[in-house]
Point group: C2
Chain length 314, copies 2
């Protein structure tokens, strides 16, 4: 194997770049802005320039680069074709081939951003030491990544791990960003728990007492719950019921060794894990009932680590 | 690769044995009884004797056998350890190692029976030509198998594909064989639809008119539905809603290229596929909404084909 590799995590605002040794140790990380003008036509040339600049700065020959892994915020097929990225203005094209061409033929592997984050956590984070990992990212939405035998499960349409869109309620009237109603992320994301708090305020005319007069955020709700506020505890329990039940569905399908919980909401810590596992243990198939839950540890670097892993473990 | 291989499908009543060329063509198939006395201690020696007898009968040297694949009715880890088979009286031990020892070292691969059936259908059945397949077996219960990249997804506890135990209802009072309440197989199996018919009779005091006076079976219900009976159509629709919704959950996790429906209930044919897809298309994530449904084609031979595939594609 060649001595160096790059892991790139392409986000809607910034591109996180990592320069690695082939043993997975990070040499340097830096960021460049994501310029989304004109259908995002400049994004890949900017990334190629960043990589070539780093090689030049460090006097490393492109011949000494094993490859570049890149995580992309949209569905990506196993062959590198991105199936549209609304956030970037991208349509359907082969990201891996195009970036490789801009890099003079350095091999490129592309995958979905939630999936590379899961691979990063499996490799060097909360799932370290396990080959089969389900990762759930609780942020604005609910993302997911399925790692089987140490590799990303991409799916036939690049949609494996889209667990935020498991339909948890048939009677929901609010519409999810995906167009359906009753999706997991309408309840179990930062946005979801705030939405439920507003519903509690509006429909039941009561709001967690500790939240009175404050802008409601996911963090405020968890803080109130930790302080013992009943209404906030109820909201956290509902999130736990939705997510715990969905994870019981998920483990009946892929039966991971471990479940890793990450994303901004996971900063709530043990109270979140407790709320999820309480409902998970009830709903799960007996062989999976004791599956371990871990908090993610790599934070915003998970995608960069997972991206480089895709080229170091082809 | 050596010229021959065996595929063994170990069931609770009979063992289906297949002798194959290494290109996957079947030379001969036969059955032996499953003797479950004394904790099933005789089962593997009987299978070993059947294999050695066939080799002797055909003047084939054990040296010319690539391996033996065996499907087992219980959870099996990727390393061949069976995690207890209640039906056979088996506890926890390494089936693959033990059978290999009885065969003088011929390599053995063991996997769960529903999983090898799924692999058989992916290889030479309803999923042929696709690498990523979800198979659902609708029989007495609801079994499942997940094929990713042409290989069985076994799971960390041998429980991947246990989709019959996805909890579809929180308000169910009847208990599933697994000890939980509200599992998919309580609604979507042959037993499940008959159970729902009895509930309709008891609770609503009305029974599908065409069923009056007959013993209720899954086949009778589907036949009545095909003849236009409203109550039977309602029962089929409920089965379709439960299974279609569960399959939408499943595709949001593993996103297969195709979904194969098999087992005795699948003999109902297109009316079953129509009932499932009607609800599936509503509940599925948009990228998976048009995932194709196929009927299984190998019938009782699926396990034997899938079992031999595990040794021909290691």
């Amino acid at each position: 194997m060649k001595p160096y590799a790059f892991g790139i995590d392409l986000g809607g605002t910034t591109v996180k770049c990592g320069f690695f040794k082939n043993d997975g140790s990070l040499i340097e990380k830096w960021e460049i802005p994501t310029i989304k003008d004109n259908g995002g036509v400049q994004i890949l040339p900017d990334i190629a320039a960043a990589i070539k600049g780093k090689l030049s700065e460090r006097n490393v020959s492109p011949e000494d680069v094993e490859g570049v892994g890149i995580g992309v915020p949209g569905p990506v097929l196993a062959n590198g074709v991105v199936n549209g990225c609304v956030n970037l203005g991208w349509g359907v094209f082969n990201v891996a081939e195009e970036l490789s061409g801009l890099l003079g033929g350095i091999p490129v592997v592309a995958a979905n951003d939630a999936n590379v984050a899961a691979l990063g956590e499996q490799w060097k984070g909360g799932g370290e030491g396990h080959q089969n990992v389900v990762m759930v990212t609780l942020g604005t939405g609910v993302g997911g990544g399925i790692i089987v035998g140490g590799r990303i499960l991409a799916g036939g349409h690049g949609a494996a791990g889209e667990i935020g869109h498991i339909q948890m309620r048939k009677d929901e009237t609010a519409v999810c960003g995906c167009g359906k109603k009753g999706c997991l992320e309408q309840y179990a994301s930062a946005t979801g728990i705030v939405r439920m708090a507003h519903l509690a305020l509006k429909e039941e005319r009561k709001l967690p007492s500790l939240l009175d007069g404050k802008e409601i955020t996911s963090k405020e709700i968890f803080d109130a719950a930790k302080a013992g506020d009943d209404a906030a505890l109820g909201l956290v329990d509902t999130l736990g019921e939705m997510l715990g039940t969905a994870l019981a569905h998920i483990t009946a399908v892929v039966d991971p060794d471990v479940i890793v919980i990450g994303g901004g909401v996971s900063k709530a810590g043990q109270i979140l894990i407790d709320a999820i596992t309480k409902h998970y243990r009830t709903a799960a198939f007996h062989a999976c009932r004791d599956t371990e839950f871990k908090l993610a540890v790599l934070g915003n670097d998970a995608g960069m680590y997972g991206a480089v892993r895709t080229v170091l473990n082809r």
